[in-house]
Amino acid sequence: MLAYAILAGLIFGLYFSLVGLGLNLVFGVMRIVNLAHGDVLMLGAFAAFWLFKLFGLHPVLSIFAVFAVFVAVGWPLYYLVVPRLLRAKDPEMLSIIFFFGLSQVIVALASIAFGSSERSIPGRVLGSGPYQILGQSFPAAWVVTGGVSALAVAFVYLYLYRTRLGYVTRAVMVHREEALATGIDVHRVSAIAFGIGLALSGIAGVFAPFMLGSVTPAMGVDINITSFAVIVVGSLGNPLGTVLGGIAYGISLMFMQTYFSSWANLLPYLLLITILLVRPSGLLGRKVRSA
């Protein structure tokens, strides 16, 4: 049972790395708290649902559509919103409120457009029958999702560490003002990061129907809290940290489900608080951010 819980936690955690990744990127680059993160994920989930239902599009293929559309929407949205927010006295806090408003709007529109019932895509779409991993059997949907999540993390890693754009993005993460002073087009870099961040949330949404049972317009709230836990446990701005955070979350969740099931939702929160207190910068953080 323990071995199964750990393996399942690993796969589930990989998925939650993907869930946290977009949020982490946006926060890391812009110091903007995207409280609508879970709702963007929900939109990705519905996009995948409708693409599958109307055109029979395979979820793995709809990733590309979701990526393109979400980047295309996120980019201009950045210019519309973020520079204004950043001019305020306390952009971090103000962004919380702004995105709370946005989250309400998204949920309202989604409820009007899709209705409020549960939707999902059949699990067999991602492969039939369970897979055997190390003698344990897992649903095919889990294995595929875990694989795609790992690829997405690798993609973000390559973007941040192996491209010129990623290099300047990291410069903006470390110090926005200094980056500005060295002549980096901070807004352009941030806008791209914002678009990619939203798109990653959308892609995480594509797999939500498989990993989270079903999707509804109201699903975002729970996702938000978990995502925050994941990215803080890892460390902000570091995609590898998010992976670590996701896996720590996944394994602890599965462990709790096995041994103290009714307390299962408590441990991630305790984990988050403990890590913050013991190591506020997260598991992989370098800079200590305590006051």
Partner: protein, 417 residues
């Protein structure tokens, strides 16, 4: 003697005339309720609300409902607000309905959580709370006459037929080891407790080998299923809301696991939404409550299931809110109200309660036999039999009622293959 008789006749006429005069019929009967178009309860709350609307629109198309104190048909006016599944907002809006809109009849929103805050408010304002689907046992106390539960039995009564089957028929089939998994909320915790009591009372005929609660927002059961499997159960009960059941059944299916005997609630209660998410294959041979959205009772009052179904489809063709038990529940509330208004002595709240209690054991609707405990207002009728899902030759879901024997339409398949 003659004089006395004349006097009596005179008195009767006098009172009749003055009574008719005193009670000038209102232009409309105001019915107040809440629904949640968003948030956790949106799907089920909207189903209930739309079910109620069917009754209401139908009555208004007929010129209203018969109201006995005025001896005429009076149109209904619905005053409804959106509480967005938020209890604090719901509390304010219930109060708004009572104090500002001054509704004649107060209906609760879906489920125990959104109903809970209305219980003390209604009591304080001496308004009868027509509780549609809030089955929490704590609401029904002997000292509070201002509540009745109309459309489903209280939570502790729900599993009656299911546990009877497990304890009495189970051992004959070879069921001994039972695994119980439930979502930790009032509705499912109460049912789990009833199951636990029944198993304890079986004196070892069946035993619990797994008994665990999971948080209500649990969306992944893969590990839990593995753990249950490790206890080698003959029968598995998973009690949760529709999102829990969907996740559980999907995880089972994706993991290629089939329990010998599996009970979950929502394949029966919200068949369509579960079928859309899980597919008929994933529901095959699952045991469930057979609710009135599936079971054809012979209603003596109101539409039959098939008529209601047709009306629903033509009224809500967009399919954004799935048809399910809660649709029937909302409609049933309307029927109970209609009967109450037709038999009540006055429009006073306690008179309405009396009229509703007067229907107990007599009113047979699409939702089964209405039966209410006079002391507390809790529903004990409308109990759902135990059924098993099978697929017909076209692969469509159909229900076989297996228990109690008097309602059974077939034999249970055990073990499931």
């Amino acid at each position: 003697m003659v004089r006395a008789k004349a006097l009596a006749v005179f008195a009767v006429i006098f009172f009749a005339v003055s009574a008719a005069h005193a009670a000038d019929a209102p232009a409309e009967i105001k019915i107040g309720t809440l629904y949640a178009s968003s948030g956790n309860y949106a799907g089920v709350s909207m189903a209930q609300y739309q079910g109620l609307r069917i009754w209401l629109d139908q009555k208004n198309a007929e010129g209203g409902v018969m109201v006995k104190p005025f001896n005429k048909k009076i149109p209904l006016k619905l005053v409804s607000y959106d509480d967005q599944s938020n209890t604090a907002t719901a509390a304010t809006l219930y109060n708004q309905l009572i104090t500002q809109d001054k509704v004649d009849i107060l209906l609760a929103d879906f489920g125990s959580v959104l109903t809970s805050v209305a219980v003390p408010i209604a009591r304080d304002h001496q308004m009868l709370l027509i509780d549609q689907t809030g089955s929490g046992a704590a609401f029904f106390t002997k000292d509070n006459p201002y509540i009745v539960l109309t459309s489903l039995p209280m939570s502790s009564v729900w599993p009656k037929h299911m546990t009877d089957f497990l304890v009495k028929e189970g051992p004959k089939l070879g069921i001994k080891r039972v695994a119980l998994l439930y979502a930790t909320n009032d509705f499912h915790g109460t049912q789990a407790a009833a199951v636990r009591d029944a198993i304890k009372a079986s004196n070892g005929a069946v035993e619990l080998v797994y008994d665990n609660g999971v948080p209500t927002n649990t969306s992944s059961y893969t590990v839990t299923i593995n753990n249950i499997q490790a206890t080698n159960p003959d029968a598995v009960l998973e009690l949760g809301y529709v999102n829990n059941d969907i996740a559980f059944l999907r995880n089972l299916q994706d993991g290629g696991i089939k329990f010998k005997w599996l009970f979950t609630i929502y394949p029966g209660l919200e068949t369509e939404v579960v079928e859309k998410n899980v597919g008929p294959k994933g529901m095959e041979q699952v045991f469930t409550y057979v609710p009135s959205s599936v079971m054809e009772y012979k209603p003596e009052f109101g539409m039959s299931l098939s008529q209601f179904r047709t009306t629903w489809n033509s009224k809500y063709p967009d399919g954004k809110v799935e048809f399910g038990f809660n649709s029937v529940a909302g409609y049933t509330t309307g029927l109970v109200l209609e009967k109450a208004l037709a038999t009540t002595d006055s429009m006073a709240q306690l008179a309405l309660r009396k009229a509703i209690l007067g229907q107990s054991g007599k009113l047979k609707t699409i939702d089964g036999t209405f039966e209410i405990l006079a002391e507390t207002g809790a529903q004990v009728g409308e109990v759902q039999p135990l059924g098993q899902i099978s697929l017909d030759e076209h692969g469509e879901v159909k229900f076989v009622t297996v228990y109690p024997p008097e309602l059974a339409t077939g034999k249970p398949v055990y073990p499931a293959k």
